[in-house]
């Protein structure tokens, strides 16, 4: 009897467990189907909004039509994405037409509401939109966002400030650029895209002069990406009047080499015997790009430097001198006093021979000419 009751209980428990599992699976499946349905409905709506507004946006580049279709609040996000994409595809007077469209569809007000959204993507969209619309009313909000922990948010806020009023934004940005080590230098250069290369170079150089050495040296190395020499005067003043850390000096020498302004040659020469090896290295590389014949002995002397990388870059610099033919390099090799220095020159002599014979038609990559590729630092190199 007791055995029968016990098995009856077990059966009941088993049935309940099976029912629970089935219910859970059905619930899960329903949830998946519901999510899929919602996603497909969103996709359909996005396509419908795009079909309506994409040709209209193209038309608005020329002239905003008198009547516009209704824009529901739930479609406004998609519209903003399309609007921003169109805005960034064009330049000139046509942007004014798009701004008019934005105000007529009350997108400025919608974007101001989005500024306080919880989702980062929506906040970013709002900032970008209001920056394009040059909406001054959010200036203080953007300034506060410059100090936000999120680097995306702060960078986008900085770009929006520049779009609204570049002259007022630059003095605010200089100290921020000098402080934020999470801002990529190339993104900083890109941020100034609408403002102009000269302003970009000047601002970044001033920020670098104020920054800690690890940030400043990074900023200076990437100044070459602005393709403007406007950043050179603040750096020349820094080297002349102060005693900046070695990292900054090395970065400045790198930049001088990239810009190859003859006025900087004496400065480069002055650092060829610097006590720190990576400063000598950058001086050698720079002299290879901007030096004259009288600088050849300075580079030859560096072939006997105590540091391998300095010897290597000196050899490379010698091979890059405009008047350095294969024959001249060969004579130079023969005249060198140590086997080590000859060994450093040999690969470059081989390359020169191949180039001269016409076998090599593709220019070899020059690592030192890319601002984003720093020199390798051995573990024992002292960082400022």
């Amino acid at each position: 009897m007791f055995a029968l009751d016990h098995s009856d209980l077990t059966l009941r428990l088993g049935s309940i467990a099976v029912l629970c599992i089935y219910s859970f699976v059905i619930l899960l499946l329903s949830g998946i189907l519901l999510l899929r349905f919602i996603r497909l409905a969103k996709e359909r709506r996005r396509r419908k909004v795009t079909e309506i507004w994409r040709p209209l946006l193209a038309q608005c580049v020329v002239e905003v039509p008198g009547t516009l279709p209704e824009l529901k609040p739930r479609d406004h996000l998609v519209f903003l994405y399309l609007w921003n994409h169109c805005y960034e595809s064009i330049r000139g007077d046509a942007r004014a037409q798009l701004n008019e469209l934005a105000r007529r569809t009350k997108s400025d007000q919608f974007a101001k509401q989005l500024l306080h959204a919880r989702r980062l993507r929506r906040q970013l969209l709002a900032i970008v939109t209001l920056g394009h619309l040059q909406e001054r009313s959010i200036w203080n909000v953007l300034v506060a966002l410059l100090e936000n922990d999120n680097s995306f948010l702060s960078l986008v806020a900085a770009k929006a400030l520049l779009n609204i009023d570049a002259a007022a934004a630059v003095p605010l940005l200089i100290p921020v650029i000098s402080r934020r080590n999470d801002w990529s230098p190339l993104k900083i250069v890109a941020m100034f895209g609408t403002v102009g290369a000269d302003i970009a170079a000047d601002t970044i150089a001033k920020a670098a002069c104020q920054a800690a050495p690890e940030i400043g040296s990074r900023l200076i190395r990437h100044l070459a990406a602005t393709q403007s020499q406007q950043g050179l005067p603040p750096l020349r003043a820094l080297l002349r009047e102060g005693t900046p850390p070695d990292d900054i000096v090395a970065a400045c020498l790198f930049l001088f080499g990239e810009c190859s302004d003859p006025r900087d040659v004496p400065t480069v020469r002055a650092h060829i015997s610097h006590p720190t090896w990576y400063v000598r290295l950058q001086a050698a590389s720079a002299l290879g790009k901007m030096g004259i014949e009288e600088d050849e002995p300075l580079l030859i002397k560096l072939l006997d430097d105590e540091h391998w990388w300095v010897r290597y870059r000196a050899a490379e610099a010698l091979s890059n001198l405009p008047w350095m033919t294969a024959e001249r390099m060969s004579r130079l090799c023969e005249a060198l006093s140590t086997i080590e220095s000859q060994e450093h020159m040999l690969p470059f002599l081989a390359q020169s021979n191949v180039r001269q014979s016409g076998l090599m038609t593709v220019a070899l990559p020059r690592p030192h000419s890319s601002p984003s590729i720093p020199e390798p630092l051995p573990p024992d190199a002292s960082a400022a």
Binding site: R54, P55, A58, S89, I90, G92, G193
Partner: protein
Amino acid sequence: MEPTTHRKLTVLMVEDEEDTASLLKFLLERASYAVVHAKDGRQAQELVDTIPLPDIVLLDVMLPFLSGLQVLAYIRGNAAWEKVPIVMLTADGSEHDIKRALESGANDYMLKPFNPRELTSRLKRFLAPAA
């Protein structure tokens, strides 16, 4: 007297981004050009082999499957297309791309983001406007 028929000038536009393509198509059609659109490098190649000669090619540099420079080389390798003017569309600041494009046979280039008025002016340099 036979009525005169004015042929619409044709532009082969190679652009992968839908929004940009839509905008370019609108501007070109508004300027009375007939537009043939290729969405990627491969489609552009197929069109070069099949369609009648267009009056001008508007070619983006960054394309899927084949780059704009590869498509440019393909077009210039086709003797029939030797004299068709090609205008490259390239992102702002890509001097390297511009140099390579001009050396490879492109006639002109336009930077993105582009000025809509400048686009039609540049095309007019190579084409007479359609009647």
